[in-house]
């Protein structure tokens, strides 16, 4: 049995080595995704363009605008004469935030009860909205006469990522996203390609069993996945100073488990699809919910129950639990037993389904 699995794995590696494009993807996809996500995805938003309507035109109102600009989050991009004009500029996408200082600014200030000015926020962009809301809680520099520094009830201490850098949060989980992308594609086409090229009809008349065929196709890609993992980690450390707080062996163990699960899922798609195109579409169909629901972008706990159930069925959810735990929180595999076990169960169920679904027949 092992001799046959080895024979199939050897064949896969030989074919892969000759397939320049796929080989390029192994290195290219992590590299490009890493740079894209690492540099472009940034939740510490800076320099949002803002328009200003200052109806008060007092020295204090100008001081308020200057203070807002000084946070660096806003970049003042021109003054308008009316709120209507602000709205129009927002509609065209020129500005993301409007600052409206009403004519009775000075009186409001003295009243002390009412807010002194208004922020108009473009609610069509998810992150901008929450950033702008942050302003209401933002302690602006104390300026006697305008506002007094308020005392916070709670003080926040950010563990594992004291500088609150987005790259630190993104990069470890990015290992999972990149693996989902490449691994599923590799195996999703693995069987369909052989079917399209006519190899399958020969292969299924050999004594190799479904299990041997599937295992032989899966194993080489586990190693390729581990190479990609290493690549992302190394790039993360070099470019974004992402630390590795946990045990490297534990990380590779978790990654192997996840890679095998994703590959098995790809094989399953491959046994269903009739053409390479369909196999690609199927893996894409799974990729989007994986990215959205796994906790890669949006916190898992905040999702409605139905979404959480779906997310439980996606291997990426559990891997992100594992990888953030190991890389950032320095947790051991024993401490992360629960997601590890879920991945293991997922792998077993899917691989079983693959072996059952793959008939050595043409009908």
């Amino acid at each position: 049995m092992f001799a046959r699995i080895l024979a199939i794995a050897t064949k896969e590696v030989r074919q892969l080595r000759r397939d320049r494009l796929t080989f390029g993807m192994i290195v290219g996809i992590p590299l490009i995704q890493m740079l894209l996500f690492g540099y472009a995805i940034n939740f510490d938003v800076r320099g949002l363009s803002a328009g200003v309507v200052d109806e008060a035109r007092t020295s204090l109102s100008r001081a308020l605008v200057a203070d807002l600009a000084a946070t660096g989050i806003l970049r003042i991009d021109g003054y308008s004469s009316s709120v209507d004009e602000l709205r129009r500029r927002m509609r065209t996408g020129e500005i993301a935030i409007g600052i409206y200082i009403p004519a009775d600014f000075e009186r409001r200030r003295l009243d002390g009860d009412r807010p002194v000015a208004q922020l108009l926020v473009d609610g069509s962009e998810p992150i901008v909205e929450s950033i702008a809301r942050g302003f209401t809680a933002m302690p602006l520099a104390a300026r006697p006469g305008i506002y007094s520094p308020r005392r916070s009830v709670l003080e926040v201490r950010t563990e594992y990522n004291p500088e609150r850098r987005t790259a630190v949060q993104i990069v470890p989980a990015l290992i999972g996203v990149i693996l989902s992308m490449t691994m599923m594609m590799f195996t999703a086409v693995a069987i369909v390609r052989e079917r399209e090229r006519g190899n399958l009809e020969l292969l299924i008349t050999t004594p190799a069993s479904s299990f041997e065929l599937m295992a032989g196709k899966l194993i080489p890609y586990v190693f390729i996945g581990l190479i990609q993992t290493t690549l992302v980690l190394a790039l993360g450390a070099a470019l974004f100073h992402v630390p590795l707080n946990g045990n490297l062996g534990a990380l590779y163990a978790a990654a192997s488990l996840f890679i095998a699960a994703t590959l098995a899922l790809g094989l399953l798609a491959s046994t269903i699809a009739q053409t390479q195109m369909q196999a690609f579409q199927m893996s894409f169909f799974l990729l989007l919910p994986s990215i959205l629901l796994s906790g890669f972008v949006f916190p898992f706990d905040g999702m409605p129950p139905v979404a959480q159930w779906i997310a439980q069925l996606l291997p990426l959810t559990h891997f992100i639990d594992l990888v953030r735990g190991i890389v950032l929180r320095g947790a051991t595999l024993m401490e992360l037993r629960v997601p590890a076990e879920k991945l293991l169960v997922f792998l077993a169920v899917v691989f079983l389904a693959v072996t059952l679904r793959f008939h050595k027949r043409l009908d």
Binding site: A3, R4, L6, A7, I8, T10, K11, R14, Q15, R18, D19, R197, G198, N199, L200, E201, L202, I204, T205, T206, P207, A208, S209, K360, R361, L362, D363
Partner: protein
């Protein structure tokens, strides 16, 4: 050495009422087969006659809708896995890996068939010599010529020394010289005791088989050694040499006792109703009436005549490749 004189008690393949449906299409319709061992047995038929479907059922790739089938004494598809070691299958389309070299392809299949290291090196060397591929070992299979691919596929299908070889239109993409070589190899295999079932739509290939089954729209319409089929044809075969061949043909078309007319160069080849009295005289009269000078001769039936007679004289339907030279580009 004498292949025919080695009749085994048990036929290599025996099938009763083998039937396969694809939805509404009846691809194979109650086919009975008894294929003796150590012979080349041919399936002759046009595309879509059920040749490939039958072969695929025999090697367990498709399940029969109904009917029973024993291959080398084992029931199929129940014992399909057991038969993998005893049966070699060559698909219609080249199905080895084009991005692997000749040696890598053979090595892979030898491993899959569980040959020991020593057996592997020995067999592969043997096959490479036998099928004249020794100088191509490092070449990718995809860059081989049609004939070389065919030889490689045969080498691969015989690596595990199968008792039964199923070949599905093995020579459809090969030049005449390569086809001749290929058939020489088949006879060599048969002389060593291998049973070969080969499907073809070439008459010259069909004629070389020990036994032949003519398939038409899923039905087995004629069966027997090619010679016997030709001798016992159910039609009178005339050859007509005429000055104005088109007019001669026109005169014969539409006559009820004329089953089929085909033109061969400057001659007409006509199949007439069997048992027709004074066949030559009636045709002569017909042609005279049409004012055509003609010489008429009763000839032996060719395998193509057998084929045309067996498939119901449907002259408007595509008949398989008329003969070797008609196809030899």
């Amino acid at each position: 050495m004498n292949a025919v004189a080695r009749p085994s008690a048990q036929p290599a393949i025996s099938a009763r009422g083998l039937t396969r449906r694809f939805g509404k299409l009846l691809a194979v319709d109650h086919v009975d087969l008894d294929i003796p061992r150590a012979q080349i047995y041919g399936f002759l038929g046009p595309n879509g006659s059920g040749k490939s479907t039958t072969i695929r059922m025999l090697c367990g790739l498709l399940r029969p809708t109904s009917g029973e089938c024993l291959v080398l004494g084992h029931p199929v598809p129940a014992a399909a896995e057991l038969l993998r070691h005893k049966v070699g299958y060559m698909t219609q389309r080249f199905s080895l890996w084009e991005d692997l070299t000749v040696a890598e392809n053979l090595d892979f299949l030898a491993r899959i068939f569980g040959l020991s290291r020593q057996q592997r090196t020995e067999r592969i060397r043997q096959r490479l010599d036998e099928y004249r591929l020794a100088d191509r070992v490092a070449q990718r299979a995809g860059t081989l010529s049609g004939g070389q691919k065919q030889r490689l596929a045969l080498a691969a299908a015989t690596l595990h020394e199968p008792e039964l070889l199923l070949l599905d239109e093995p020579t459809s993409a090969v030049d005449p010289q390569s086809r001749r070589d290929f058939w020489e190899s088949l006879f060599q295999l048969v002389s060593r005791g291998t049973t070969i079932l080969v499907s073809t739509h070439y008459m010259d290939e069909a004629e070389r088989c020990h036994g032949l089954a003519i398939l038409d729209r899923g039905k087995l319409v004629a069966e027997g050694p090619p010679r016997r089929l030709m001798d016992e044809i159910d039609a009178i075969v005339l050859e007509i040499e005429a000055g104005d061949i088109r007019r001669a043909r026109h005169a014969l078309d539409g006559q009820t006792f004329v089953r089929s007319v085909a033109q061969l160069g400057t001659r007409l080849h006509a199949l007439l109703e069997p048992g027709l009295a004074d066949a030559e005289a009636r045709v002569t009269a017909l042609l005279k009436q049409a004012n055509v000078d003609a010489r008429i001769e009763r000839v032996r039936a060719s395998l193509e005549d057998v084929f045309v007679a067996a498939t119901g004289f449907n002259s408007d339907r595509a008949t398989p490749g008329a003969s070797a030279d008609a196809d030899g580009r």
